[in-house]
C-alpha cells in the first residue's frame, strides 16, 4: 500500500550539477548567478546535434537469425529521434522562457528576499507591493497542444534534459548564495485521476525529492487554496525556472465546469511569482485552455504552440527518410513515393503511429520470413493491428470538422490558418530543414562525393580530376554504403 494518499504524478528526472558560472554574453543576463550557471544559449545547429538520436544499426545484422533481428527492430522505439523544425522552435521558446523568467528573480537582489517570505504572498495577491522594492514579473507561459502520439512529451523532455535539472550554488564571486538550490525545470505528468490538489501535493513531493526538503509531509492535509501559496513560495525559494505540466486534460477540473478554476490556478502561478508554466495536453484540453490562459500565453510573446499531425510534405519525407535506414529484413527496400503515400495514408501523419507501423511491419515480415517490407504488407498490418484507432484516423482522413470533432483527442477547431502566419512559418521551416540537412547528412551522395574527393586531393590528385573520379566511384558503389560507414 502506498504511503501517499494522493494519486502520484510521474515527474521526470534530470541532471544535478554544481554551478559553473560563464559569461552569458547578453548584458541583461549578466551578474545573475541563475543565468550565468545555465548552459550557453544554443544555436539551431547545436540543438539538432543534441536532440538527434539514432539506434544502433549495422547492415550485417541482416544475417542474424530471425529471433535476434526481432529485438533489433525494438531499438527504433527506444532510440530513434529526428529533430524537426517544430522541435527547434520549441527549444527556442523554452530557452527564452526560462531565461526571461530568471531575469527578474536574481537571488542577490531584494526581490528574492521579499518573494521568499510567506507573508509577502498576501501582499502580492492583494496587489499591495507598490511600496516595496520588488519587480512585477513578466507573464510567461504557453500551452503545447496536439494529438496524442505526435511527440509532444518526448520532444519536450529531450529539450529539457539539455539543461541540468538542479544546479547547486555555493559561492558566486566569493559571495554566499542565498539560494543554494536552483531547480531549472520540473516536468510533471497528470495521472488519469489527477486533481489540482493532487497536482499541488505532487509538486511539493517532487521538490522534496530534488532538493531534500520535506514540504509534502508537512502539508499533506491542506486544500488547494492553502497549497497554492506554498507552491508559489517553494518555487520562489528554490528558483524554479519552468514548470511543465503534461497530460493536462487528465485533471478532473479540466473535464467539467471547474476548468475556470483550474485556469485561474495556473494564471496565478504565472502572475504571482513570474514562474513560467508550460501546459501540455491533447485537443481535449483546448476548450479549457481558451480564455485566460490564452491571454496569458499571448502576453508572453510566445507563438501559438499547437502541434498538428504532419502534412504529406517535405518534413514528413524527411522523417521517413531517417526511419527507413533501420531495416533488418533480408533485403532493404528504398523509400519511394508509394511507400510515402501508404505510410501517410495509414498513419495520417501521426509520427508515433508511423514509427510503430514501421516496426510492426518489419516484425511481421521477419515472422513470416518475407524478404522485405512492401506497401501491401504495410496496409495489411495497419488493418490488423491499428483497429482501435481506425475510426479516428478515418475521421482525420475525411477532413470534415464535424467528423473529427466526434473524436475529442484530434479536435483541432482552434487551428487558425492565417495566410501570412503560414507563409512565415513555412519559410522558417524551410530554413531549419536546411540546417538539419547540413548537420545530419541528408544528401548522402553529395556528402560521400565530397569526402572521397577530399581524400584524393590530400593524396595529391588535382581537384578537377578528384571531383570527377569521386563522383564516378560513388555512383558505382552507392549501394554498398550500408556495409561501409564512411562517416564514422
Amino acid at each position: 500500500m502506498s504511503e501517499f494518499d494522493v494519486p502520484l504524478f510521474h515527474f521526470s528526472r534530470g541532471e544535478f550539477v554544481e554551478a559553473d558560472y560563464q559569461d552569458p554574453l547578453l548584458e541583461d543576463y549578466r551578474n545573475n548567478p541563475l543565468l550565468e550557471a545555465l548552459p550557453p544559449i544554443w544555436d539551431d545547429k547545436t540543438v539538432v546535434n543534441e536532440l538527434a538520436s539514432e539506434p544502433i544499426f549495422n547492415a550485417s545484422e541482416r544475417d542474424l537469425p530471425v529471433h535476434l533481428r526481432l529485438h533489433c527492430v525494438q531499438r527504433i522505439s527506444r532510440d530513434f529521434f529526428r529533430p524537426l523544425s517544430r522541435h527547434l522552435e520549441l527549444q527556442q521558446s523554452i530557452s527564452r522562457l526560462i531565461r526571461d523568467g530568471y531575469v527578474g528573480r536574481n537571488p542577490l537582489t531584494l526581490n528574492y528576499a521579499f518573494r521568499a517570505r510567506k507573508d509577502a504572498y498576501e501582499l502580492i495577491m492583494q496587489g499591495n507591493t507598490s511600496g516595496y522594492p520588488v519587480n512585477t514579473p513578466t507573464s510567461a507561459g504557453f500551452a503545447l497542444v496536439g494529438i496524442s502520439g505526435i511527440g509532444k512529451s518526448s520532444s519536450l523532455l529531450r529539450i529539457l534534459q539539455m539543461y541540468p535539472q538542479v544546479i547547486l550554488h555555493r559561492k558566486y564571486r566569493g559571495q554566499d548564495m542565498p539560494a543554494p538550490f536552483q531547480i531549472v525545470w520540473l516536468k510533471m505528468d497528470c495521472p488519469h485521476d489527477g486533481s489540482i490538489r493532487g497536482l499541488c501535493l505532487n509538486f511539493l513531493l517532487a521538490v522534496d525529492s530534488l532538493v531534500g526538503t520535506k514540504y509534502y509531509k508537512k502539508n499533506v492535509t491542506k486544500n488547494p487554496d492553502e497549497l497554492l501559496p506554498l507552491m508559489a513560495q517553494a518555487a520562489a525559494v528554490h528558483c524554479l525556472g519552468v514548470l511543465v505540466i503534461d497530460e493536462i486534460q487528465n485533471l478532473q477540473e479540466a473535464k467539467d465546469d471547474r476548468a475556470a478554476q483550474m485556469l485561474n490556478f495556473f494564471v496565478q502561478l504565472v502572475n504571482t511569482i513570474g514562474l513560467p508554466v508550460i501546459l501540455v495536453g491533447t485537443y481535449k484540453a483546448l476548450p479549457a485552455l481558451n480564455g485566460e490562459f490564452r491571454n496569458a500565453r499571448r502576453n508572453s510573446g510566445q507563438g501559438d504552440a499547437t502541434w498538428h499531425h504532419f502534412k504529406k510534405d517535405e518534413e514528413w519525407n524527411w522523417l521517413l527518410q531517417g526511419l527507413w535506414k533501420y531495416q533488418w529484413t533480408d533485403k532493404k527496400v528504398e523509400l519511394d513515393q508509394e511507400f510515402i503515400d501508404v505510410m501517410y495514408e495509414e498513419s495520417q501523419g501521426i509520427s508515433d503511429i508511423a514509427i510503430k507501423l514501421f516496426m510492426l511491419t518489419q516484425w511481421r515480415a521477419l515472422d513470416k520470413e518475407l524478404e522485405s517490407v512492401t506497401p501491401g504488407l504495410i496496409r495489411s498490418v495497419a488493418k490488423d493491428r491499428l483497429t482501435l484507432i481506425r475510426p479516428a484516423l478515418e475521421a482525420l482522413r475525411s477532413g470534415k470538422k464535424a467528423q473529427i470533432q466526434k473524436f475529442a483527442d484530434i479536435y483541432d477547431s482552434v487551428s487558425i490558418d492565417d495566410y501570412l502566419d503560414r507563409i512565415e512559418a513555412e519559410q522558417r521551416q524551410a530554413e531549419r530543414l536546411e540546417v538539419i540537412r547540413t548537420e545530419l547528412g541528408y544528401d548522402v551522395t553529395e556528402q560521400t562525393i565530397n569526402e572521397v574527393s577530399a581524400w584524393l586531393i590530400e593524396a595529391g590528385v588535382t581537384q578537377a580530376i578528384a571531383s570527377q573520379a569521386a563522383e564516378e566511384v560513388t555512383k558505382l558503389h552507392l549501394h554498398e554504403l550500408d556495409e561501409i560507414d564512411l562517416h564514422n
Binding site: 531584494l110 528576499a113 507573508d119 498576501e122 516595496y132 548564495m177 542565498p178 513560495q233 525559494v237
Partner: protein, 475 residues
Amino acid sequence: MNEWCALPIPYPDELLYSVIARYHIRSNNTSPKWTLREVFGTDNVIPTIDLPSHLDALSRRNVVQIMADEWINRHTFYTYYAPFLPDSLAIRVKALMRSTDGSGIHALVGITASTIDQTNRLWFCPSCYEQDIQRYGEPYWHRIHQLPGVYLCPHHRRVLHELTSPLSDRHGLNVLPISRHMFRSIAVIEDLPNKLIDRLSDIAEDIHLLVQQNKLPALYDLRKAILPRLTEKGFVTVLSRIRQQKLCEQPVLFYGRELLDLLDSDPLEVRYSWLEQSTRTARRAVHPLRQLLLIRFLYGSFREFLNRTDVTNAPFGNAPWPCLNKAADHYKNLVVTQCDITRCSDTGQPVGTFVCSCGFSYSRRGPDRSEEEKYYRGRIKSFGPIWSDKLKQCMQEGMSYRSTAERLGVDTNTVIKYANGKSPVREVPLKPKHAKKSGTAPTPKNTRKSPRMRVDWEKRDLELSWNVEQVCKAI
C-alpha cells in the same frame, strides 16, 4: 523534517534569532518545532534571543557555511557580555554556546542574578524597518536594538518600538512582519526630554561600538584601566584610595536619577553600589551597561576610552608611572600620568620624560624591557618645590651635605650646588644615579625645557602646613 537547513544569509548586525525566524517564514513551516528541529537538530531547545546554544550543530546543518564563532561574535550578545568577564569564564561561555547544553549560560554570565531587567522582548527601530525593506527587501531584528540599555537607535536617534502583536510564547519564533499593517507595536518610552534623548543615544552608541570590536577588550578588572582617569578627576586620595562617596555622587549628578532609574542603575538605591564594585579589585562581574556608564562619565565616551588604551606603541608601558621624588610622600607611588616620548638623536631609541604633579620630572631612555625598569631614573629634568623645600629643611637642621644627598636621592655635588643659593628652577644636567653602564654616555645636544608645571596647591598647602608645624615646635 529536513536533515539540513538553508539559513538565509545574515544581514549586518542581524540577531541569530532573527535569521532563524526568517528561515521559519521562508520554509513555510507551520510549527516552530519543525524549524527548531531542522536548524538545531532537536526541538528540545528554546529559541534564545541573547545567548543561544547548539551553535555547533546549527553550523553543521546549515548548507551555507558560516562558522559557529562567526554566529557567536556577530549575531549574539556574546560580545556584549564577554569583555566584562574573566578570560577563562568568557571562554567557557562560548564553549557552552557551541555545545548542546546551554542551561548554565545565564547563570555563568550573571544574567540570572542581575538587577537589570532581562525579559525577552523584541524591539526595532521604525526607521531601520523602512530602510531595511528598501535596502534588503525585508525587515529583520537588529542585535543592537535588543541589547540592554539601548532605548534609541544609534543610527537614527529614534525611540525603539516593541512588537506587541502578534506575539508567540517563548517556544515560538516571532518574525518581524513584512508590512506595518500586519503587526502592532508601541514605543518603549515616551515623552522624553531632549537631554535624556541625547544621553540614551550616546549610551546606544557606546554599546554599538562595544559589540563591534573584532578583538574583545579586557574590561573585567576595570579598576586598573580607569585608575589614572579617576586620579586625574580627583577621585583618588594621596594614599591611592578611592573617594567612594564622591564617586557615588558625581555620576548621579552627571546622568540624572531619572536616566539611571530607567537603566536600573541608580547607585544610591542599594547598600553596595555597583560603582564601588567597578572601582575595587575585581571579585565579581559588573553588568556591561553599568561599566559603560562609568566609562562614559570618566572619559566622555567609550570611543575615547578605547583610544586611550589602544596605544600599541607604548615603549614605557601605560600610565600610571611612579614618581621618583624621594622628598615626596608619594615617592615610588604610581601617580605620574603624563609621559612625553621623544627620540634620542644619537641612538634612535625612545626617551620618555615623566612629569609628576608635584613638579618633579625625570627622563629615561627606553624601551622598558621589564616592569622593574619603571623605577629607573635617568636624568632629573626638574625638582619641583617639594624637593627644594626638603633641601632647605635639611640644611636648616644642620645635616651634612652627604647625609642630605642621601636623604634626597641625589649626588653630593648637587646638594652643594643648590644649597648655595642656586635657583631650583634652573635645569642642569646631572650624573644619573642609576645610569646603565655604557662605553660612552651620549652627549645631549639640546636640553628640552619641560613644559610649565601646574602646581597641586592642595598638596603644597599640606607640605607647608607641615613645615609651619615643625617651625612652631622649634620655637
